[in-house]
């Protein structure tokens, strides 16, 4: 069965991040990326509800699982295969608020897809962020293939593949873990278990408590971690990354978390979950918990907090303004890039 990381609260110890090898600066950077992911997301909802953009899909509530695991990787060296909620991951890997807003408004400069895909369908080769589609769990096999290529060339790059507990029901999830296990590939399978696949609760998705328990069936470790504790996520990912770089193979990390918003701007979550449940989870907000820890640890002062807020707000304001002014694709763009090579 899956191992469980030690239960730790945000106030578990003042030097927790340092014990994990994180400098104060690194710990603060993680905080700022979480804040930025949240702020962009909140702004998107405002713009969507004002009728100025057709669709939002959120990271809210899952930033701890995202940034905590991404921070254990080396951007520019390692690969990530995100799923559609992973704003925290891609921002940590080098995307910007401007990129997010350009994608949200489907502008030509959108680095993911030049305005072709819905928001949340990330991808940029230079940043080693894999492009994603809407069918879930397909990226887990791509991650195994990326890691296979790294192994063939004897490189020590690690590939982190993200998915939800709904995606865990797909055959591709099984096939990817099976293949990665056989070849001891340097893959982190990171399941952000937020309890619901749109409306379907975990109890109707699987008969077990932990997705991570399945790792045993593929011959590698499975770890359950508090997904709203960013440092616990970092710790679990760090162990998995070290293991992968040593050539010992994959790890399945299940981060138990929750989404604060409906599935998307087209969903009404009041139809399938109680407001009390959402309120309860909001009390475990990963950003607030981390802020409390950082304050306790003396890293986050009022002044630093103010600076972070100012920077984040400015970035989101400027990104929004830029994206709103940015040109749409032209009708001619429709026919481009069906193939990379010349055709006919």
């Amino acid at each position: 069965m899956a191992t469980r990381t030690q239960e730790v609260t945000a106030r578990g110890g003042q030097s927790r991040h340092r014990a994990l090898g994180l400098t104060d600066q690194a710990a603060l950077r993680m905080y700022e990326v979480m804040r930025l992911a949240r702020a962009i997301d909140e702004r998107m909802w405002l713009i969507n509800r004002a009728g100025r953009a057709p669709f939002v899909i959120s990271c809210q509530g899952q930033e701890g699982a995202q940034v905590g695991t991404a921070a254990a990787l080396k951007p520019g060296h390692d690969w990530v295969a995100p799923y559609y909620r992973d704003a925290g991951v891609i921002l940590y890997f080098g995307m910007t608020a401007r990129d997010q807003m350009l994608s949200f408004m489907a502008k030509r400069e959108d680095p993911n897809s030049a305005g072709r895909q819905m928001p949340g369908h990330y991808g940029k080769r230079q940043l080693k962020i894999l492009t994603g589609g809407s069918p879930v769990a397909t990226q887990l096999l791509h991650a195994a293939g990326i890691a296979l290529a790294s192994k063939m060339r004897k490189e020590d790059a690690v590939t982190a593949a993200y998915f939800g507990e709904g995606g865990a029901s797909q055959g591709d999830c099984h096939e990817a873990m099976n293949f990665a296990g056989i070849h001891k590939l340097a893959v982190l399978f990171i399941c952000e278990n937020n309890g619901y696949a749109i409306s379907v609760p975990q109890s109707r998705q699987m008969a077990i408590q932990n997705v991570a328990d399945r790792a045993a069936g593929y011959g590698f470790p499975g770890v359950v971690v508090d997904g709203n504790d960013v440092l616990a996520c970092y710790e679990a990912a760090r162990h998995a990354v070290d293991r992968a770089r040593r050539g010992e193979g994959p790890t399945l990390i299940e981060a138990k978390t929750y989404r604060f918003t409906p599935h998307s701007s087209d969903d009404d979550d009041r139809r399938y979950r109680e407001a009390e449940e959402v309120a309860l989870w909001r009390q475990k907000d990963p950003i607030q918990r981390y802020a409390a820890y950082l304050r306790e640890a003396g890293v986050l002062t009022d002044e630093v907090e103010r600076e972070v807020t100012e920077r984040v707000t400015k970035e989101v304001d400027e990104a929004t303004e830029y994206a709103e002014q940015a040109p749409d694709p032209s009708p001619d763009d429709l026919l481009k890039y069906v193939y990379k090579g010349e055709v006919g």
């Binding site: 897809s113 940029k124 492009t131 591709d172 293949f179």
Partner: protein, 327 residues
């Protein structure tokens, strides 16, 4: 020049490409020590080792999905689907993913990868070892689909497919593997993707085909010549992107066209070929364009009487061609 069978040409193409480029590797079921169920990869495991000739688990989505990831990360995978009939579990990966990587990232990502799949009937393969899948996949923008019918084209197109920056579905007709022998040129012998080839010149009517049906059309053309009918045979070779200019040229030249395929009729490749002719060569036609295809039944039955009833053959092509010639 060397005389080779189709399967030998395919094997040689993979060997040469793996020799030339260390990023080329093979992944599929039984491709390793077994050398593939048709022996297409015979000897490659021994020569290149298990890291470049990978026996995959029995899972087609895995084969294609892993190949996509490897192609993202600098490799040029050749993914083998053991029989085209078993490609369905990989369709999500092929259609939703491989075919769209380039378009959905505006060219930021591209996938230099080949999916090889033995296809077609006439081998007592029944419903699940005989299917034709070209129409299904040719409908998908972003994919290239090739279906060579001769050893030289099999080698040349496979080598071009490996070097192509986009995903190529490479269909090899399993009945032709050891049936068809032909000259294979020295040197690279690359055959460009997207170019059809006039395999026999003629002036009275045109037979357009690919794969095994190309061979049957060539045999039919020989017999038609004895009747005094001069039949041109155009080998599409690449189904997508189709060489429309070559189709139009032969239609304009002879004014009478018969399209032959063993895939079933509805929304088949013949329909597309005929549409191209109607759009661009209507004024040159001396007869309605005709097609000879498999019937719209789910697949080819095991029993030999039913199998023969399903498959177009030389006699059926002759009968249809004579009808066309007499029009």
């Amino acid at each position: 020049m060397a005389r080779q069978t189709v399967i030998e040409a395919i094997r040689q193409a993979m060997d040469e490409e793996m020799e030339r480029d260390p990023s080329v590797f093979v992944i599929g079921e039984d491709v390793g020590r077994r050398g593939g169920v048709f022996l297409a990869t015979d000897g490659l495991h021994k020569k290149y080792g298990e890291m470049r000739v990978i026996d995959s688990p029995l899972a087609e989505s895995c084969i294609v999905g892993v190949a996509i990831g490897a192609a993202v990360n600098g490799m040029r995978p050749i993914a083998e689907i053991q029989f085209a009939d078993f490609i369905a579990p990989a369709m999500n990966q092929i259609i939703e993913e491989a075919a769209r990587f380039c378009y959905r990232t505006a060219g930021d990502f591209n996938l230099p990868m080949v999916i090889r799949a033995p296809w077609g009937g006439g081998v007592h393969g029944a419903l699940y070892h005989s299917q034709s899948i070209e129409a299904t996949f040719s409908h998908i923008p972003g994919l290239k689909v090739v279906a060579p019918g001769t050893p030289a084209d099999a080698r040349g197109l496979l080598k071009s497919a490996v070097r192509d920056p986009d995903p190529v579905l490479y269909l090899e007709h399993k009945r032709t593997y050891r049936l068809i022998r032909g000259e294979v040129p020295d040197g690279d012998g690359l055959v460009p993707i997207g170019k059809a080839d006039v395999k026999r010149e003629g002036k009275d009517l045109s037979l357009i085909a690919y794969g095994l049906m190309l061979q049957y059309c060539l045999e039919a053309a020989e017999k038609l010549a004895q009747d005094g009918v001069s039949a041109e045979v155009l080998d599409l070779r690449t189904i997508k992107p189709m060489d429309e200019a070559a189709v139009i040229a032969t239609a304009k030249k002879t004014g009478k066209v018969l399209v032959v395929h063993e895939d079933n009729r509805f929304a088949g490749i013949a329909g597309e070929v005929i549409a191209v002719i109607m759009e661009h060569a209507f004024d040159s036609l001396d007869a309605p364009v005709m097609r000879l295809t498999a019937p719209d039944v789910p697949a080819m039955p095991f029993n030999h009487v039913l199998e023969e009833a399903f498959m177009p053959n030389v006699d059926k092509i002759l009968a249809k061609a004579r009808e066309l010639a007499a029009y």
